[in-house]
Symmetry: C2
Subunit: 609 residues, 2 copies
């Protein structure tokens, strides 16, 4: 039977339902921050949410605070207890982090300062007394209206100049000009100004998420996500790199695939927001270094061979027309800097969104995936590394492994004595496989129950329920054939166990060596970013000894930090400068050549101690 | 019988042959300057030329100076007298003006300072100690090698980044980088540096001239010229403007025509110089405002209606890929500023090449054509205007008018008493028509002989040889049917006379009003630029009273000054700045609204006084 869950939207964060915690507490546990200026006392009314599901009814004082907005579904999160599963919509006004990414109101987080803006001007029509050229009269007017940038030398691409004479005259000189802050005019049109939009893209190996943003106020107008279509050509980064290495046309194809995907997401987001992609003038794209390269059409081959050199690593601004993203003709695309072959712009964006440069206590930021990208920040230094964890966390190379899709076991609970495991299955129903978070959860429970030795084997000395000798050795039966959606036993083999062990040892070793390098003995906070980190139960992560020297209460899932970073860089030029400063400050620890890596890796294998 | 002529190459300047003048004197008369450091005393040997034609043989002292180079055709221009027609090749080393446009050696004319250059660098290959990105290592090396530009922020277009990893490694890090001085990298290739070329284009209404220039030393490697293919769609500027006004596809077609023409000239010039157009990274194009607009694909419609407003007038740099000129993929194209609807970048380039901003005496610069573009410069002010002279100077609207092509009468001499006129025919042979310079020459002779009244009519009171009543009124028979190549009488009608009168009156009026505006009573120098100005006999121009207050000895033909200006702007960034300063300094006199234009025009009609 699937466990009850609360799904927080629009972040898509999930958490186990608990009747003794308020929605506010559950949201914080899920990393879906909700405003609570009064500290959860039901007074400020800032934590309004909309609920679909069964909740205890509001008391009188809550009703009073809700006032006119009172309805069946509108509630104060801090006063609401939910029974069973529910879906909770957190309106923008109630989101804790909205200032960070969404508006300019709260200047100390991200001051709205986009690289592109639209301005409405009134250009005088020419006459014999002033027959100066249309472009020059337009620029004169622009110089008088454009604020904040001194001594701009305006650049007018031909695409903008062509037809200027007609646009200028068709509404008697009233025009909307869109330009970047360096003075390049990107678009002109007659009449009043329309939206100036931006697109922030988190380009993951597996998923692509696009945020449509109004650059005039920083508001996120819509979010769209899809699988990265390149998955069809290769599950992980390494297989795609080797594909590109084989033939230039493979690189072109993979590149085009992701351009088309982004164009589709942009179009979908615009349709839902009642906008048009032709009004998107600025775009930020963050991804790991391989995704960054393939997106740009740069050959990623050298990322997979020592010394793992990127073709380009600095922040780049390119013309969107070179990439065919379906945005405005003169739109620009900004890619934040990457740090190294396996520490990409996504890690930089994560470090930026999680304030790695402003922490006062040792803080660990981990984006878990095929490659674990790890940042350890102290007051003085920021260290980063990448560990080749392998695909186990994404269900790869696991006999019954699968992605976090419907039918996947994503959580397991065992009683101390073993017995029948309680499974959480995504979407409910019979299990068809096990995903990364389920795998970590299961192994954590088996370790706790003593079925797995500290060294990482199914303990042969101890009889344990559902542990048996299979065709290929010892295995644990998670669900018998009659209980599964496949009609076959769902098992965890000793090979699967070894795969997970290798993956978590790599993470453990990376973190250990980083702590050693920085002289950190205890990590104060662990922030788990990315989809896997979001679904991973911190207790289970600690239960398999993946995070050295950390207890579960220090661990928080923070959602798509890379996407947040992409939005920040979209709405603020200062954040782009900050991204470069961060990359300069970040020190890259190359584990491949670290003299103590093997030792740390072996040490990381243990499940206990 | 055609008169004997000396043709000076490569300038294509022609002058009547005179046996009592040396080639040096004739060259100076033709405006084809030859070096003569010793003042024409046969000592310095700098005036070496190659002659095809009949010349008096060299004496001993000339032979001595010629030394090893002595040959039948190689001579000192200052010592050589030629009989009959001849063609004279002036080698680059002997050209007087070579420093101005061709080399950087003579820094006080144009200091070589091109906007693009190619540099050879040695980029270190990456290793595990320095696995930084290829682009960043390349830029580090570039920063150490690139001189003269502080704090460059390098821009690397995708076209340059793609394939970088291979180019960098294929010759162990040795690379040739081509970049502009603003830091945009235009091309990279492995190995040693090859040529960095530029193309200067004089885009005329009738002809297109392209100069291929080596940007590393400023040398002109080759010159190619062709008819502007747009001529097939409309002879003059106004007809092409009205074509563009009719339908956008006409603009596109005319635009494409001239792009293809320039691409062809560039390819031809490169083939002859043993170079490739893909190495042309910078290009300057000067033309009148209509040619400028059509070249860029800007609608010229408003140039032909009051208040004659250009779409754009400031200096523009565009990507050559937007125009399909067949140059390097990332080549840039610079268009100097235009002053007004009918004073284009060609006039600005002329003013620059002729130092309008450095004159100490009132100097008049005239580019005669369908539009006469006139610049009058004094020590303090530079005035410019444009007069709609009509097509008479190009043989248009004249019964037997034609361009300056083989068969055209380009000069006429009459005895005081009339009698049989002596004709100069281009290419020799029987005359087929009369071109602009022939027309001016003929009318000047008729005025001098008293056959034309000061008011501009064939004098009815005086009987004059070959003057008769034709079908449409009085006409002068230049050649009888039996002497012409057409088998018909070649005549000058009273309508033709009126056409020329209108044309020269417009020029006269423009110059008069400019003189009035500047308070100039006497012009010290007249510089005639352009093809027509080059073939026009100054005495004839004065003979029809086209240039007010000027005697023939003050008039010099200066050849293609606009083309020279285009080359200057190509090899020197300072000259681009100067072009803008010139435009800012130039004052535009709009004749169309001048209160005294009609009066001055009527006054300009007179052929005498």
């Amino acid at each position: 039977m699937p466990e009850d869950q609360i799904l927080f939207q629009p972040m898509g964060r999930r958490v186990r339902s608990q009747t003794d915690l308020t929605l506010l507490e559950l949201a914080n546990r899920a990393g879906a921050g909700i405003e609570a200026a009064c500290g959860g006392k039901g007074r400020c009314g800032k934590c309004r949410v909309k609920i679909r599901g069964e909740a205890l009814p509001p008391d009188e004082s809550e009703q009073e605070v809700l006032g006119a907005e009172k309805s069946e579904s509108c509630r104060l999160a801090c006063q609401t207890y939910v029974r069973g599963s529910a879906s909770v919509w957190i309106p923008e006004a109630s989101r804790l982090h909205r200032q960070v990414i969404l508006t300019a109101g709260n200047a100390y987080h991200v001051e709205l300062d986009p690289g592109v803006r639209t301005l409405e001007i009134q250009v005088p029509l020419p006459d014999l007394q002033d027959p100066s050229a249309d472009r020059e009269r337009m620029i004169d007017t622009l110089n008088r209206s454009w604020e904040g940038d001194a001594e701009i030398e305006w650049e007018t691409p031909l695409s903008v100049l062509r037809g200027l004479e007609e646009k200028l005259r068709s509404d008697n000189g009233r025009m909307a000009i869109t330009a970047d802050r360096e003075g390049k005019i990107l678009d002109i049109r007659p009449g009043t100004a329309s939206a100036c939009l931006g697109l922030a893209v988190d380009l993951g190996t597996t998923t692509v998420v696009a945020y449509l943003v109004d650059l005039s106020d920083g508001k996120v107008l819509g979010v769209q996500a899809d699988m990265n279509p390149q998955v069809a050509e290769g599950e992980d980064v390494v297989s795609r790199i080797s594909l590109c290495h084989q033939a230039p046309e493979n690189l072109e194809r993979l590149s085009r695939m992701v351009h088309e995907c982004i164009a589709r997401l942009a179009a979908d987001a615009c349709r839902e927001a009642g906008a048009v992609p032709g009004r998107i003038f600025d775009c930020t794209v963050v991804g790991n270094t391989a995704m960054h390269h393939i997106f740009l059409g740069l050959n990623p081959a050298h990322l997979a061979m020592a010394p793992y050199t990127p073709v380009a690593s600095g922040g780049l601004t390119v013309r969107s027309s070179e990439l065919d993203l379906g945005l405005a003709a003169e739109a620009r695309v900004y890619l934040p800097p990457v740090k190294a072959g396996f520490v990409g712009a996504d890690a930089v964006a994560m470090a930026m969104a999680l304030d790695a440069d402003q922490t006062s206590v040792p803080t660990l930021m981990v984006d878990l995936g095929t490659n674990g990208e790890i940042v350890l920040a102290t007051r003085d230094r920021i260290l980063c590394c990448s560990t080749a964890a392998g695909p186990a966390f994404e269900g790869g190379h696991i006999l019954w492994g699968m992605r976090g899709a419907p039918g996947a076991v994503d959580g397991v609970r065992l009683s101390q004595a073993g017995g029948v495991p309680v499974l959480s299955v995504i979407g409910g129903g019979a299990p068809r496989g096990i995903c990364g978070s389920g795998l970590v959860s299961l192994v954590s429970e088996l370790v706790a129950a003593g079925a797995i030795t500290p060294a990482g084997a199914f303990d042969p000395g101890i009889p344990f329920p559902r542990l048996r000798d299979g065709q290929e050795g010892r295995e644990y039966v998670l669900a018998a054939a009659r209980e599964t959606g496949t009609g076959r036993d769902l098992v965890l083999t000793h090979r699967d166990l070894a795969q997970l062990q290798l993956a978590k040892a790599a993470i453990h070793a990376g973190i250990s060596l980083m702590m050693e390098e920085l002289g950190v003995f205890r990590i104060s906070r662990v922030l788990l970013a990315g989809a896997f980190g979001n679904y991973l139960d911190p207790a289970c992560a600690c239960g398999i000894r993946m995070l050295p020297g950390v207890t579960a209460d220090r661990v928080t899932a923070v959602g798509n930090a890379a996407g947040t970073g992409a939005v920040m860089a979209l709405v603020s030029r200062a954040q782009r400068t900050r991204a470069q400063a961060l990359v300069d400050q970040m020190e890259y620890l190359e584990l491949a050549v670290h003299p103590r890596f093997k030792e740390a890796y072996l040490d990381g294998m243990a499940f206990n101690g």
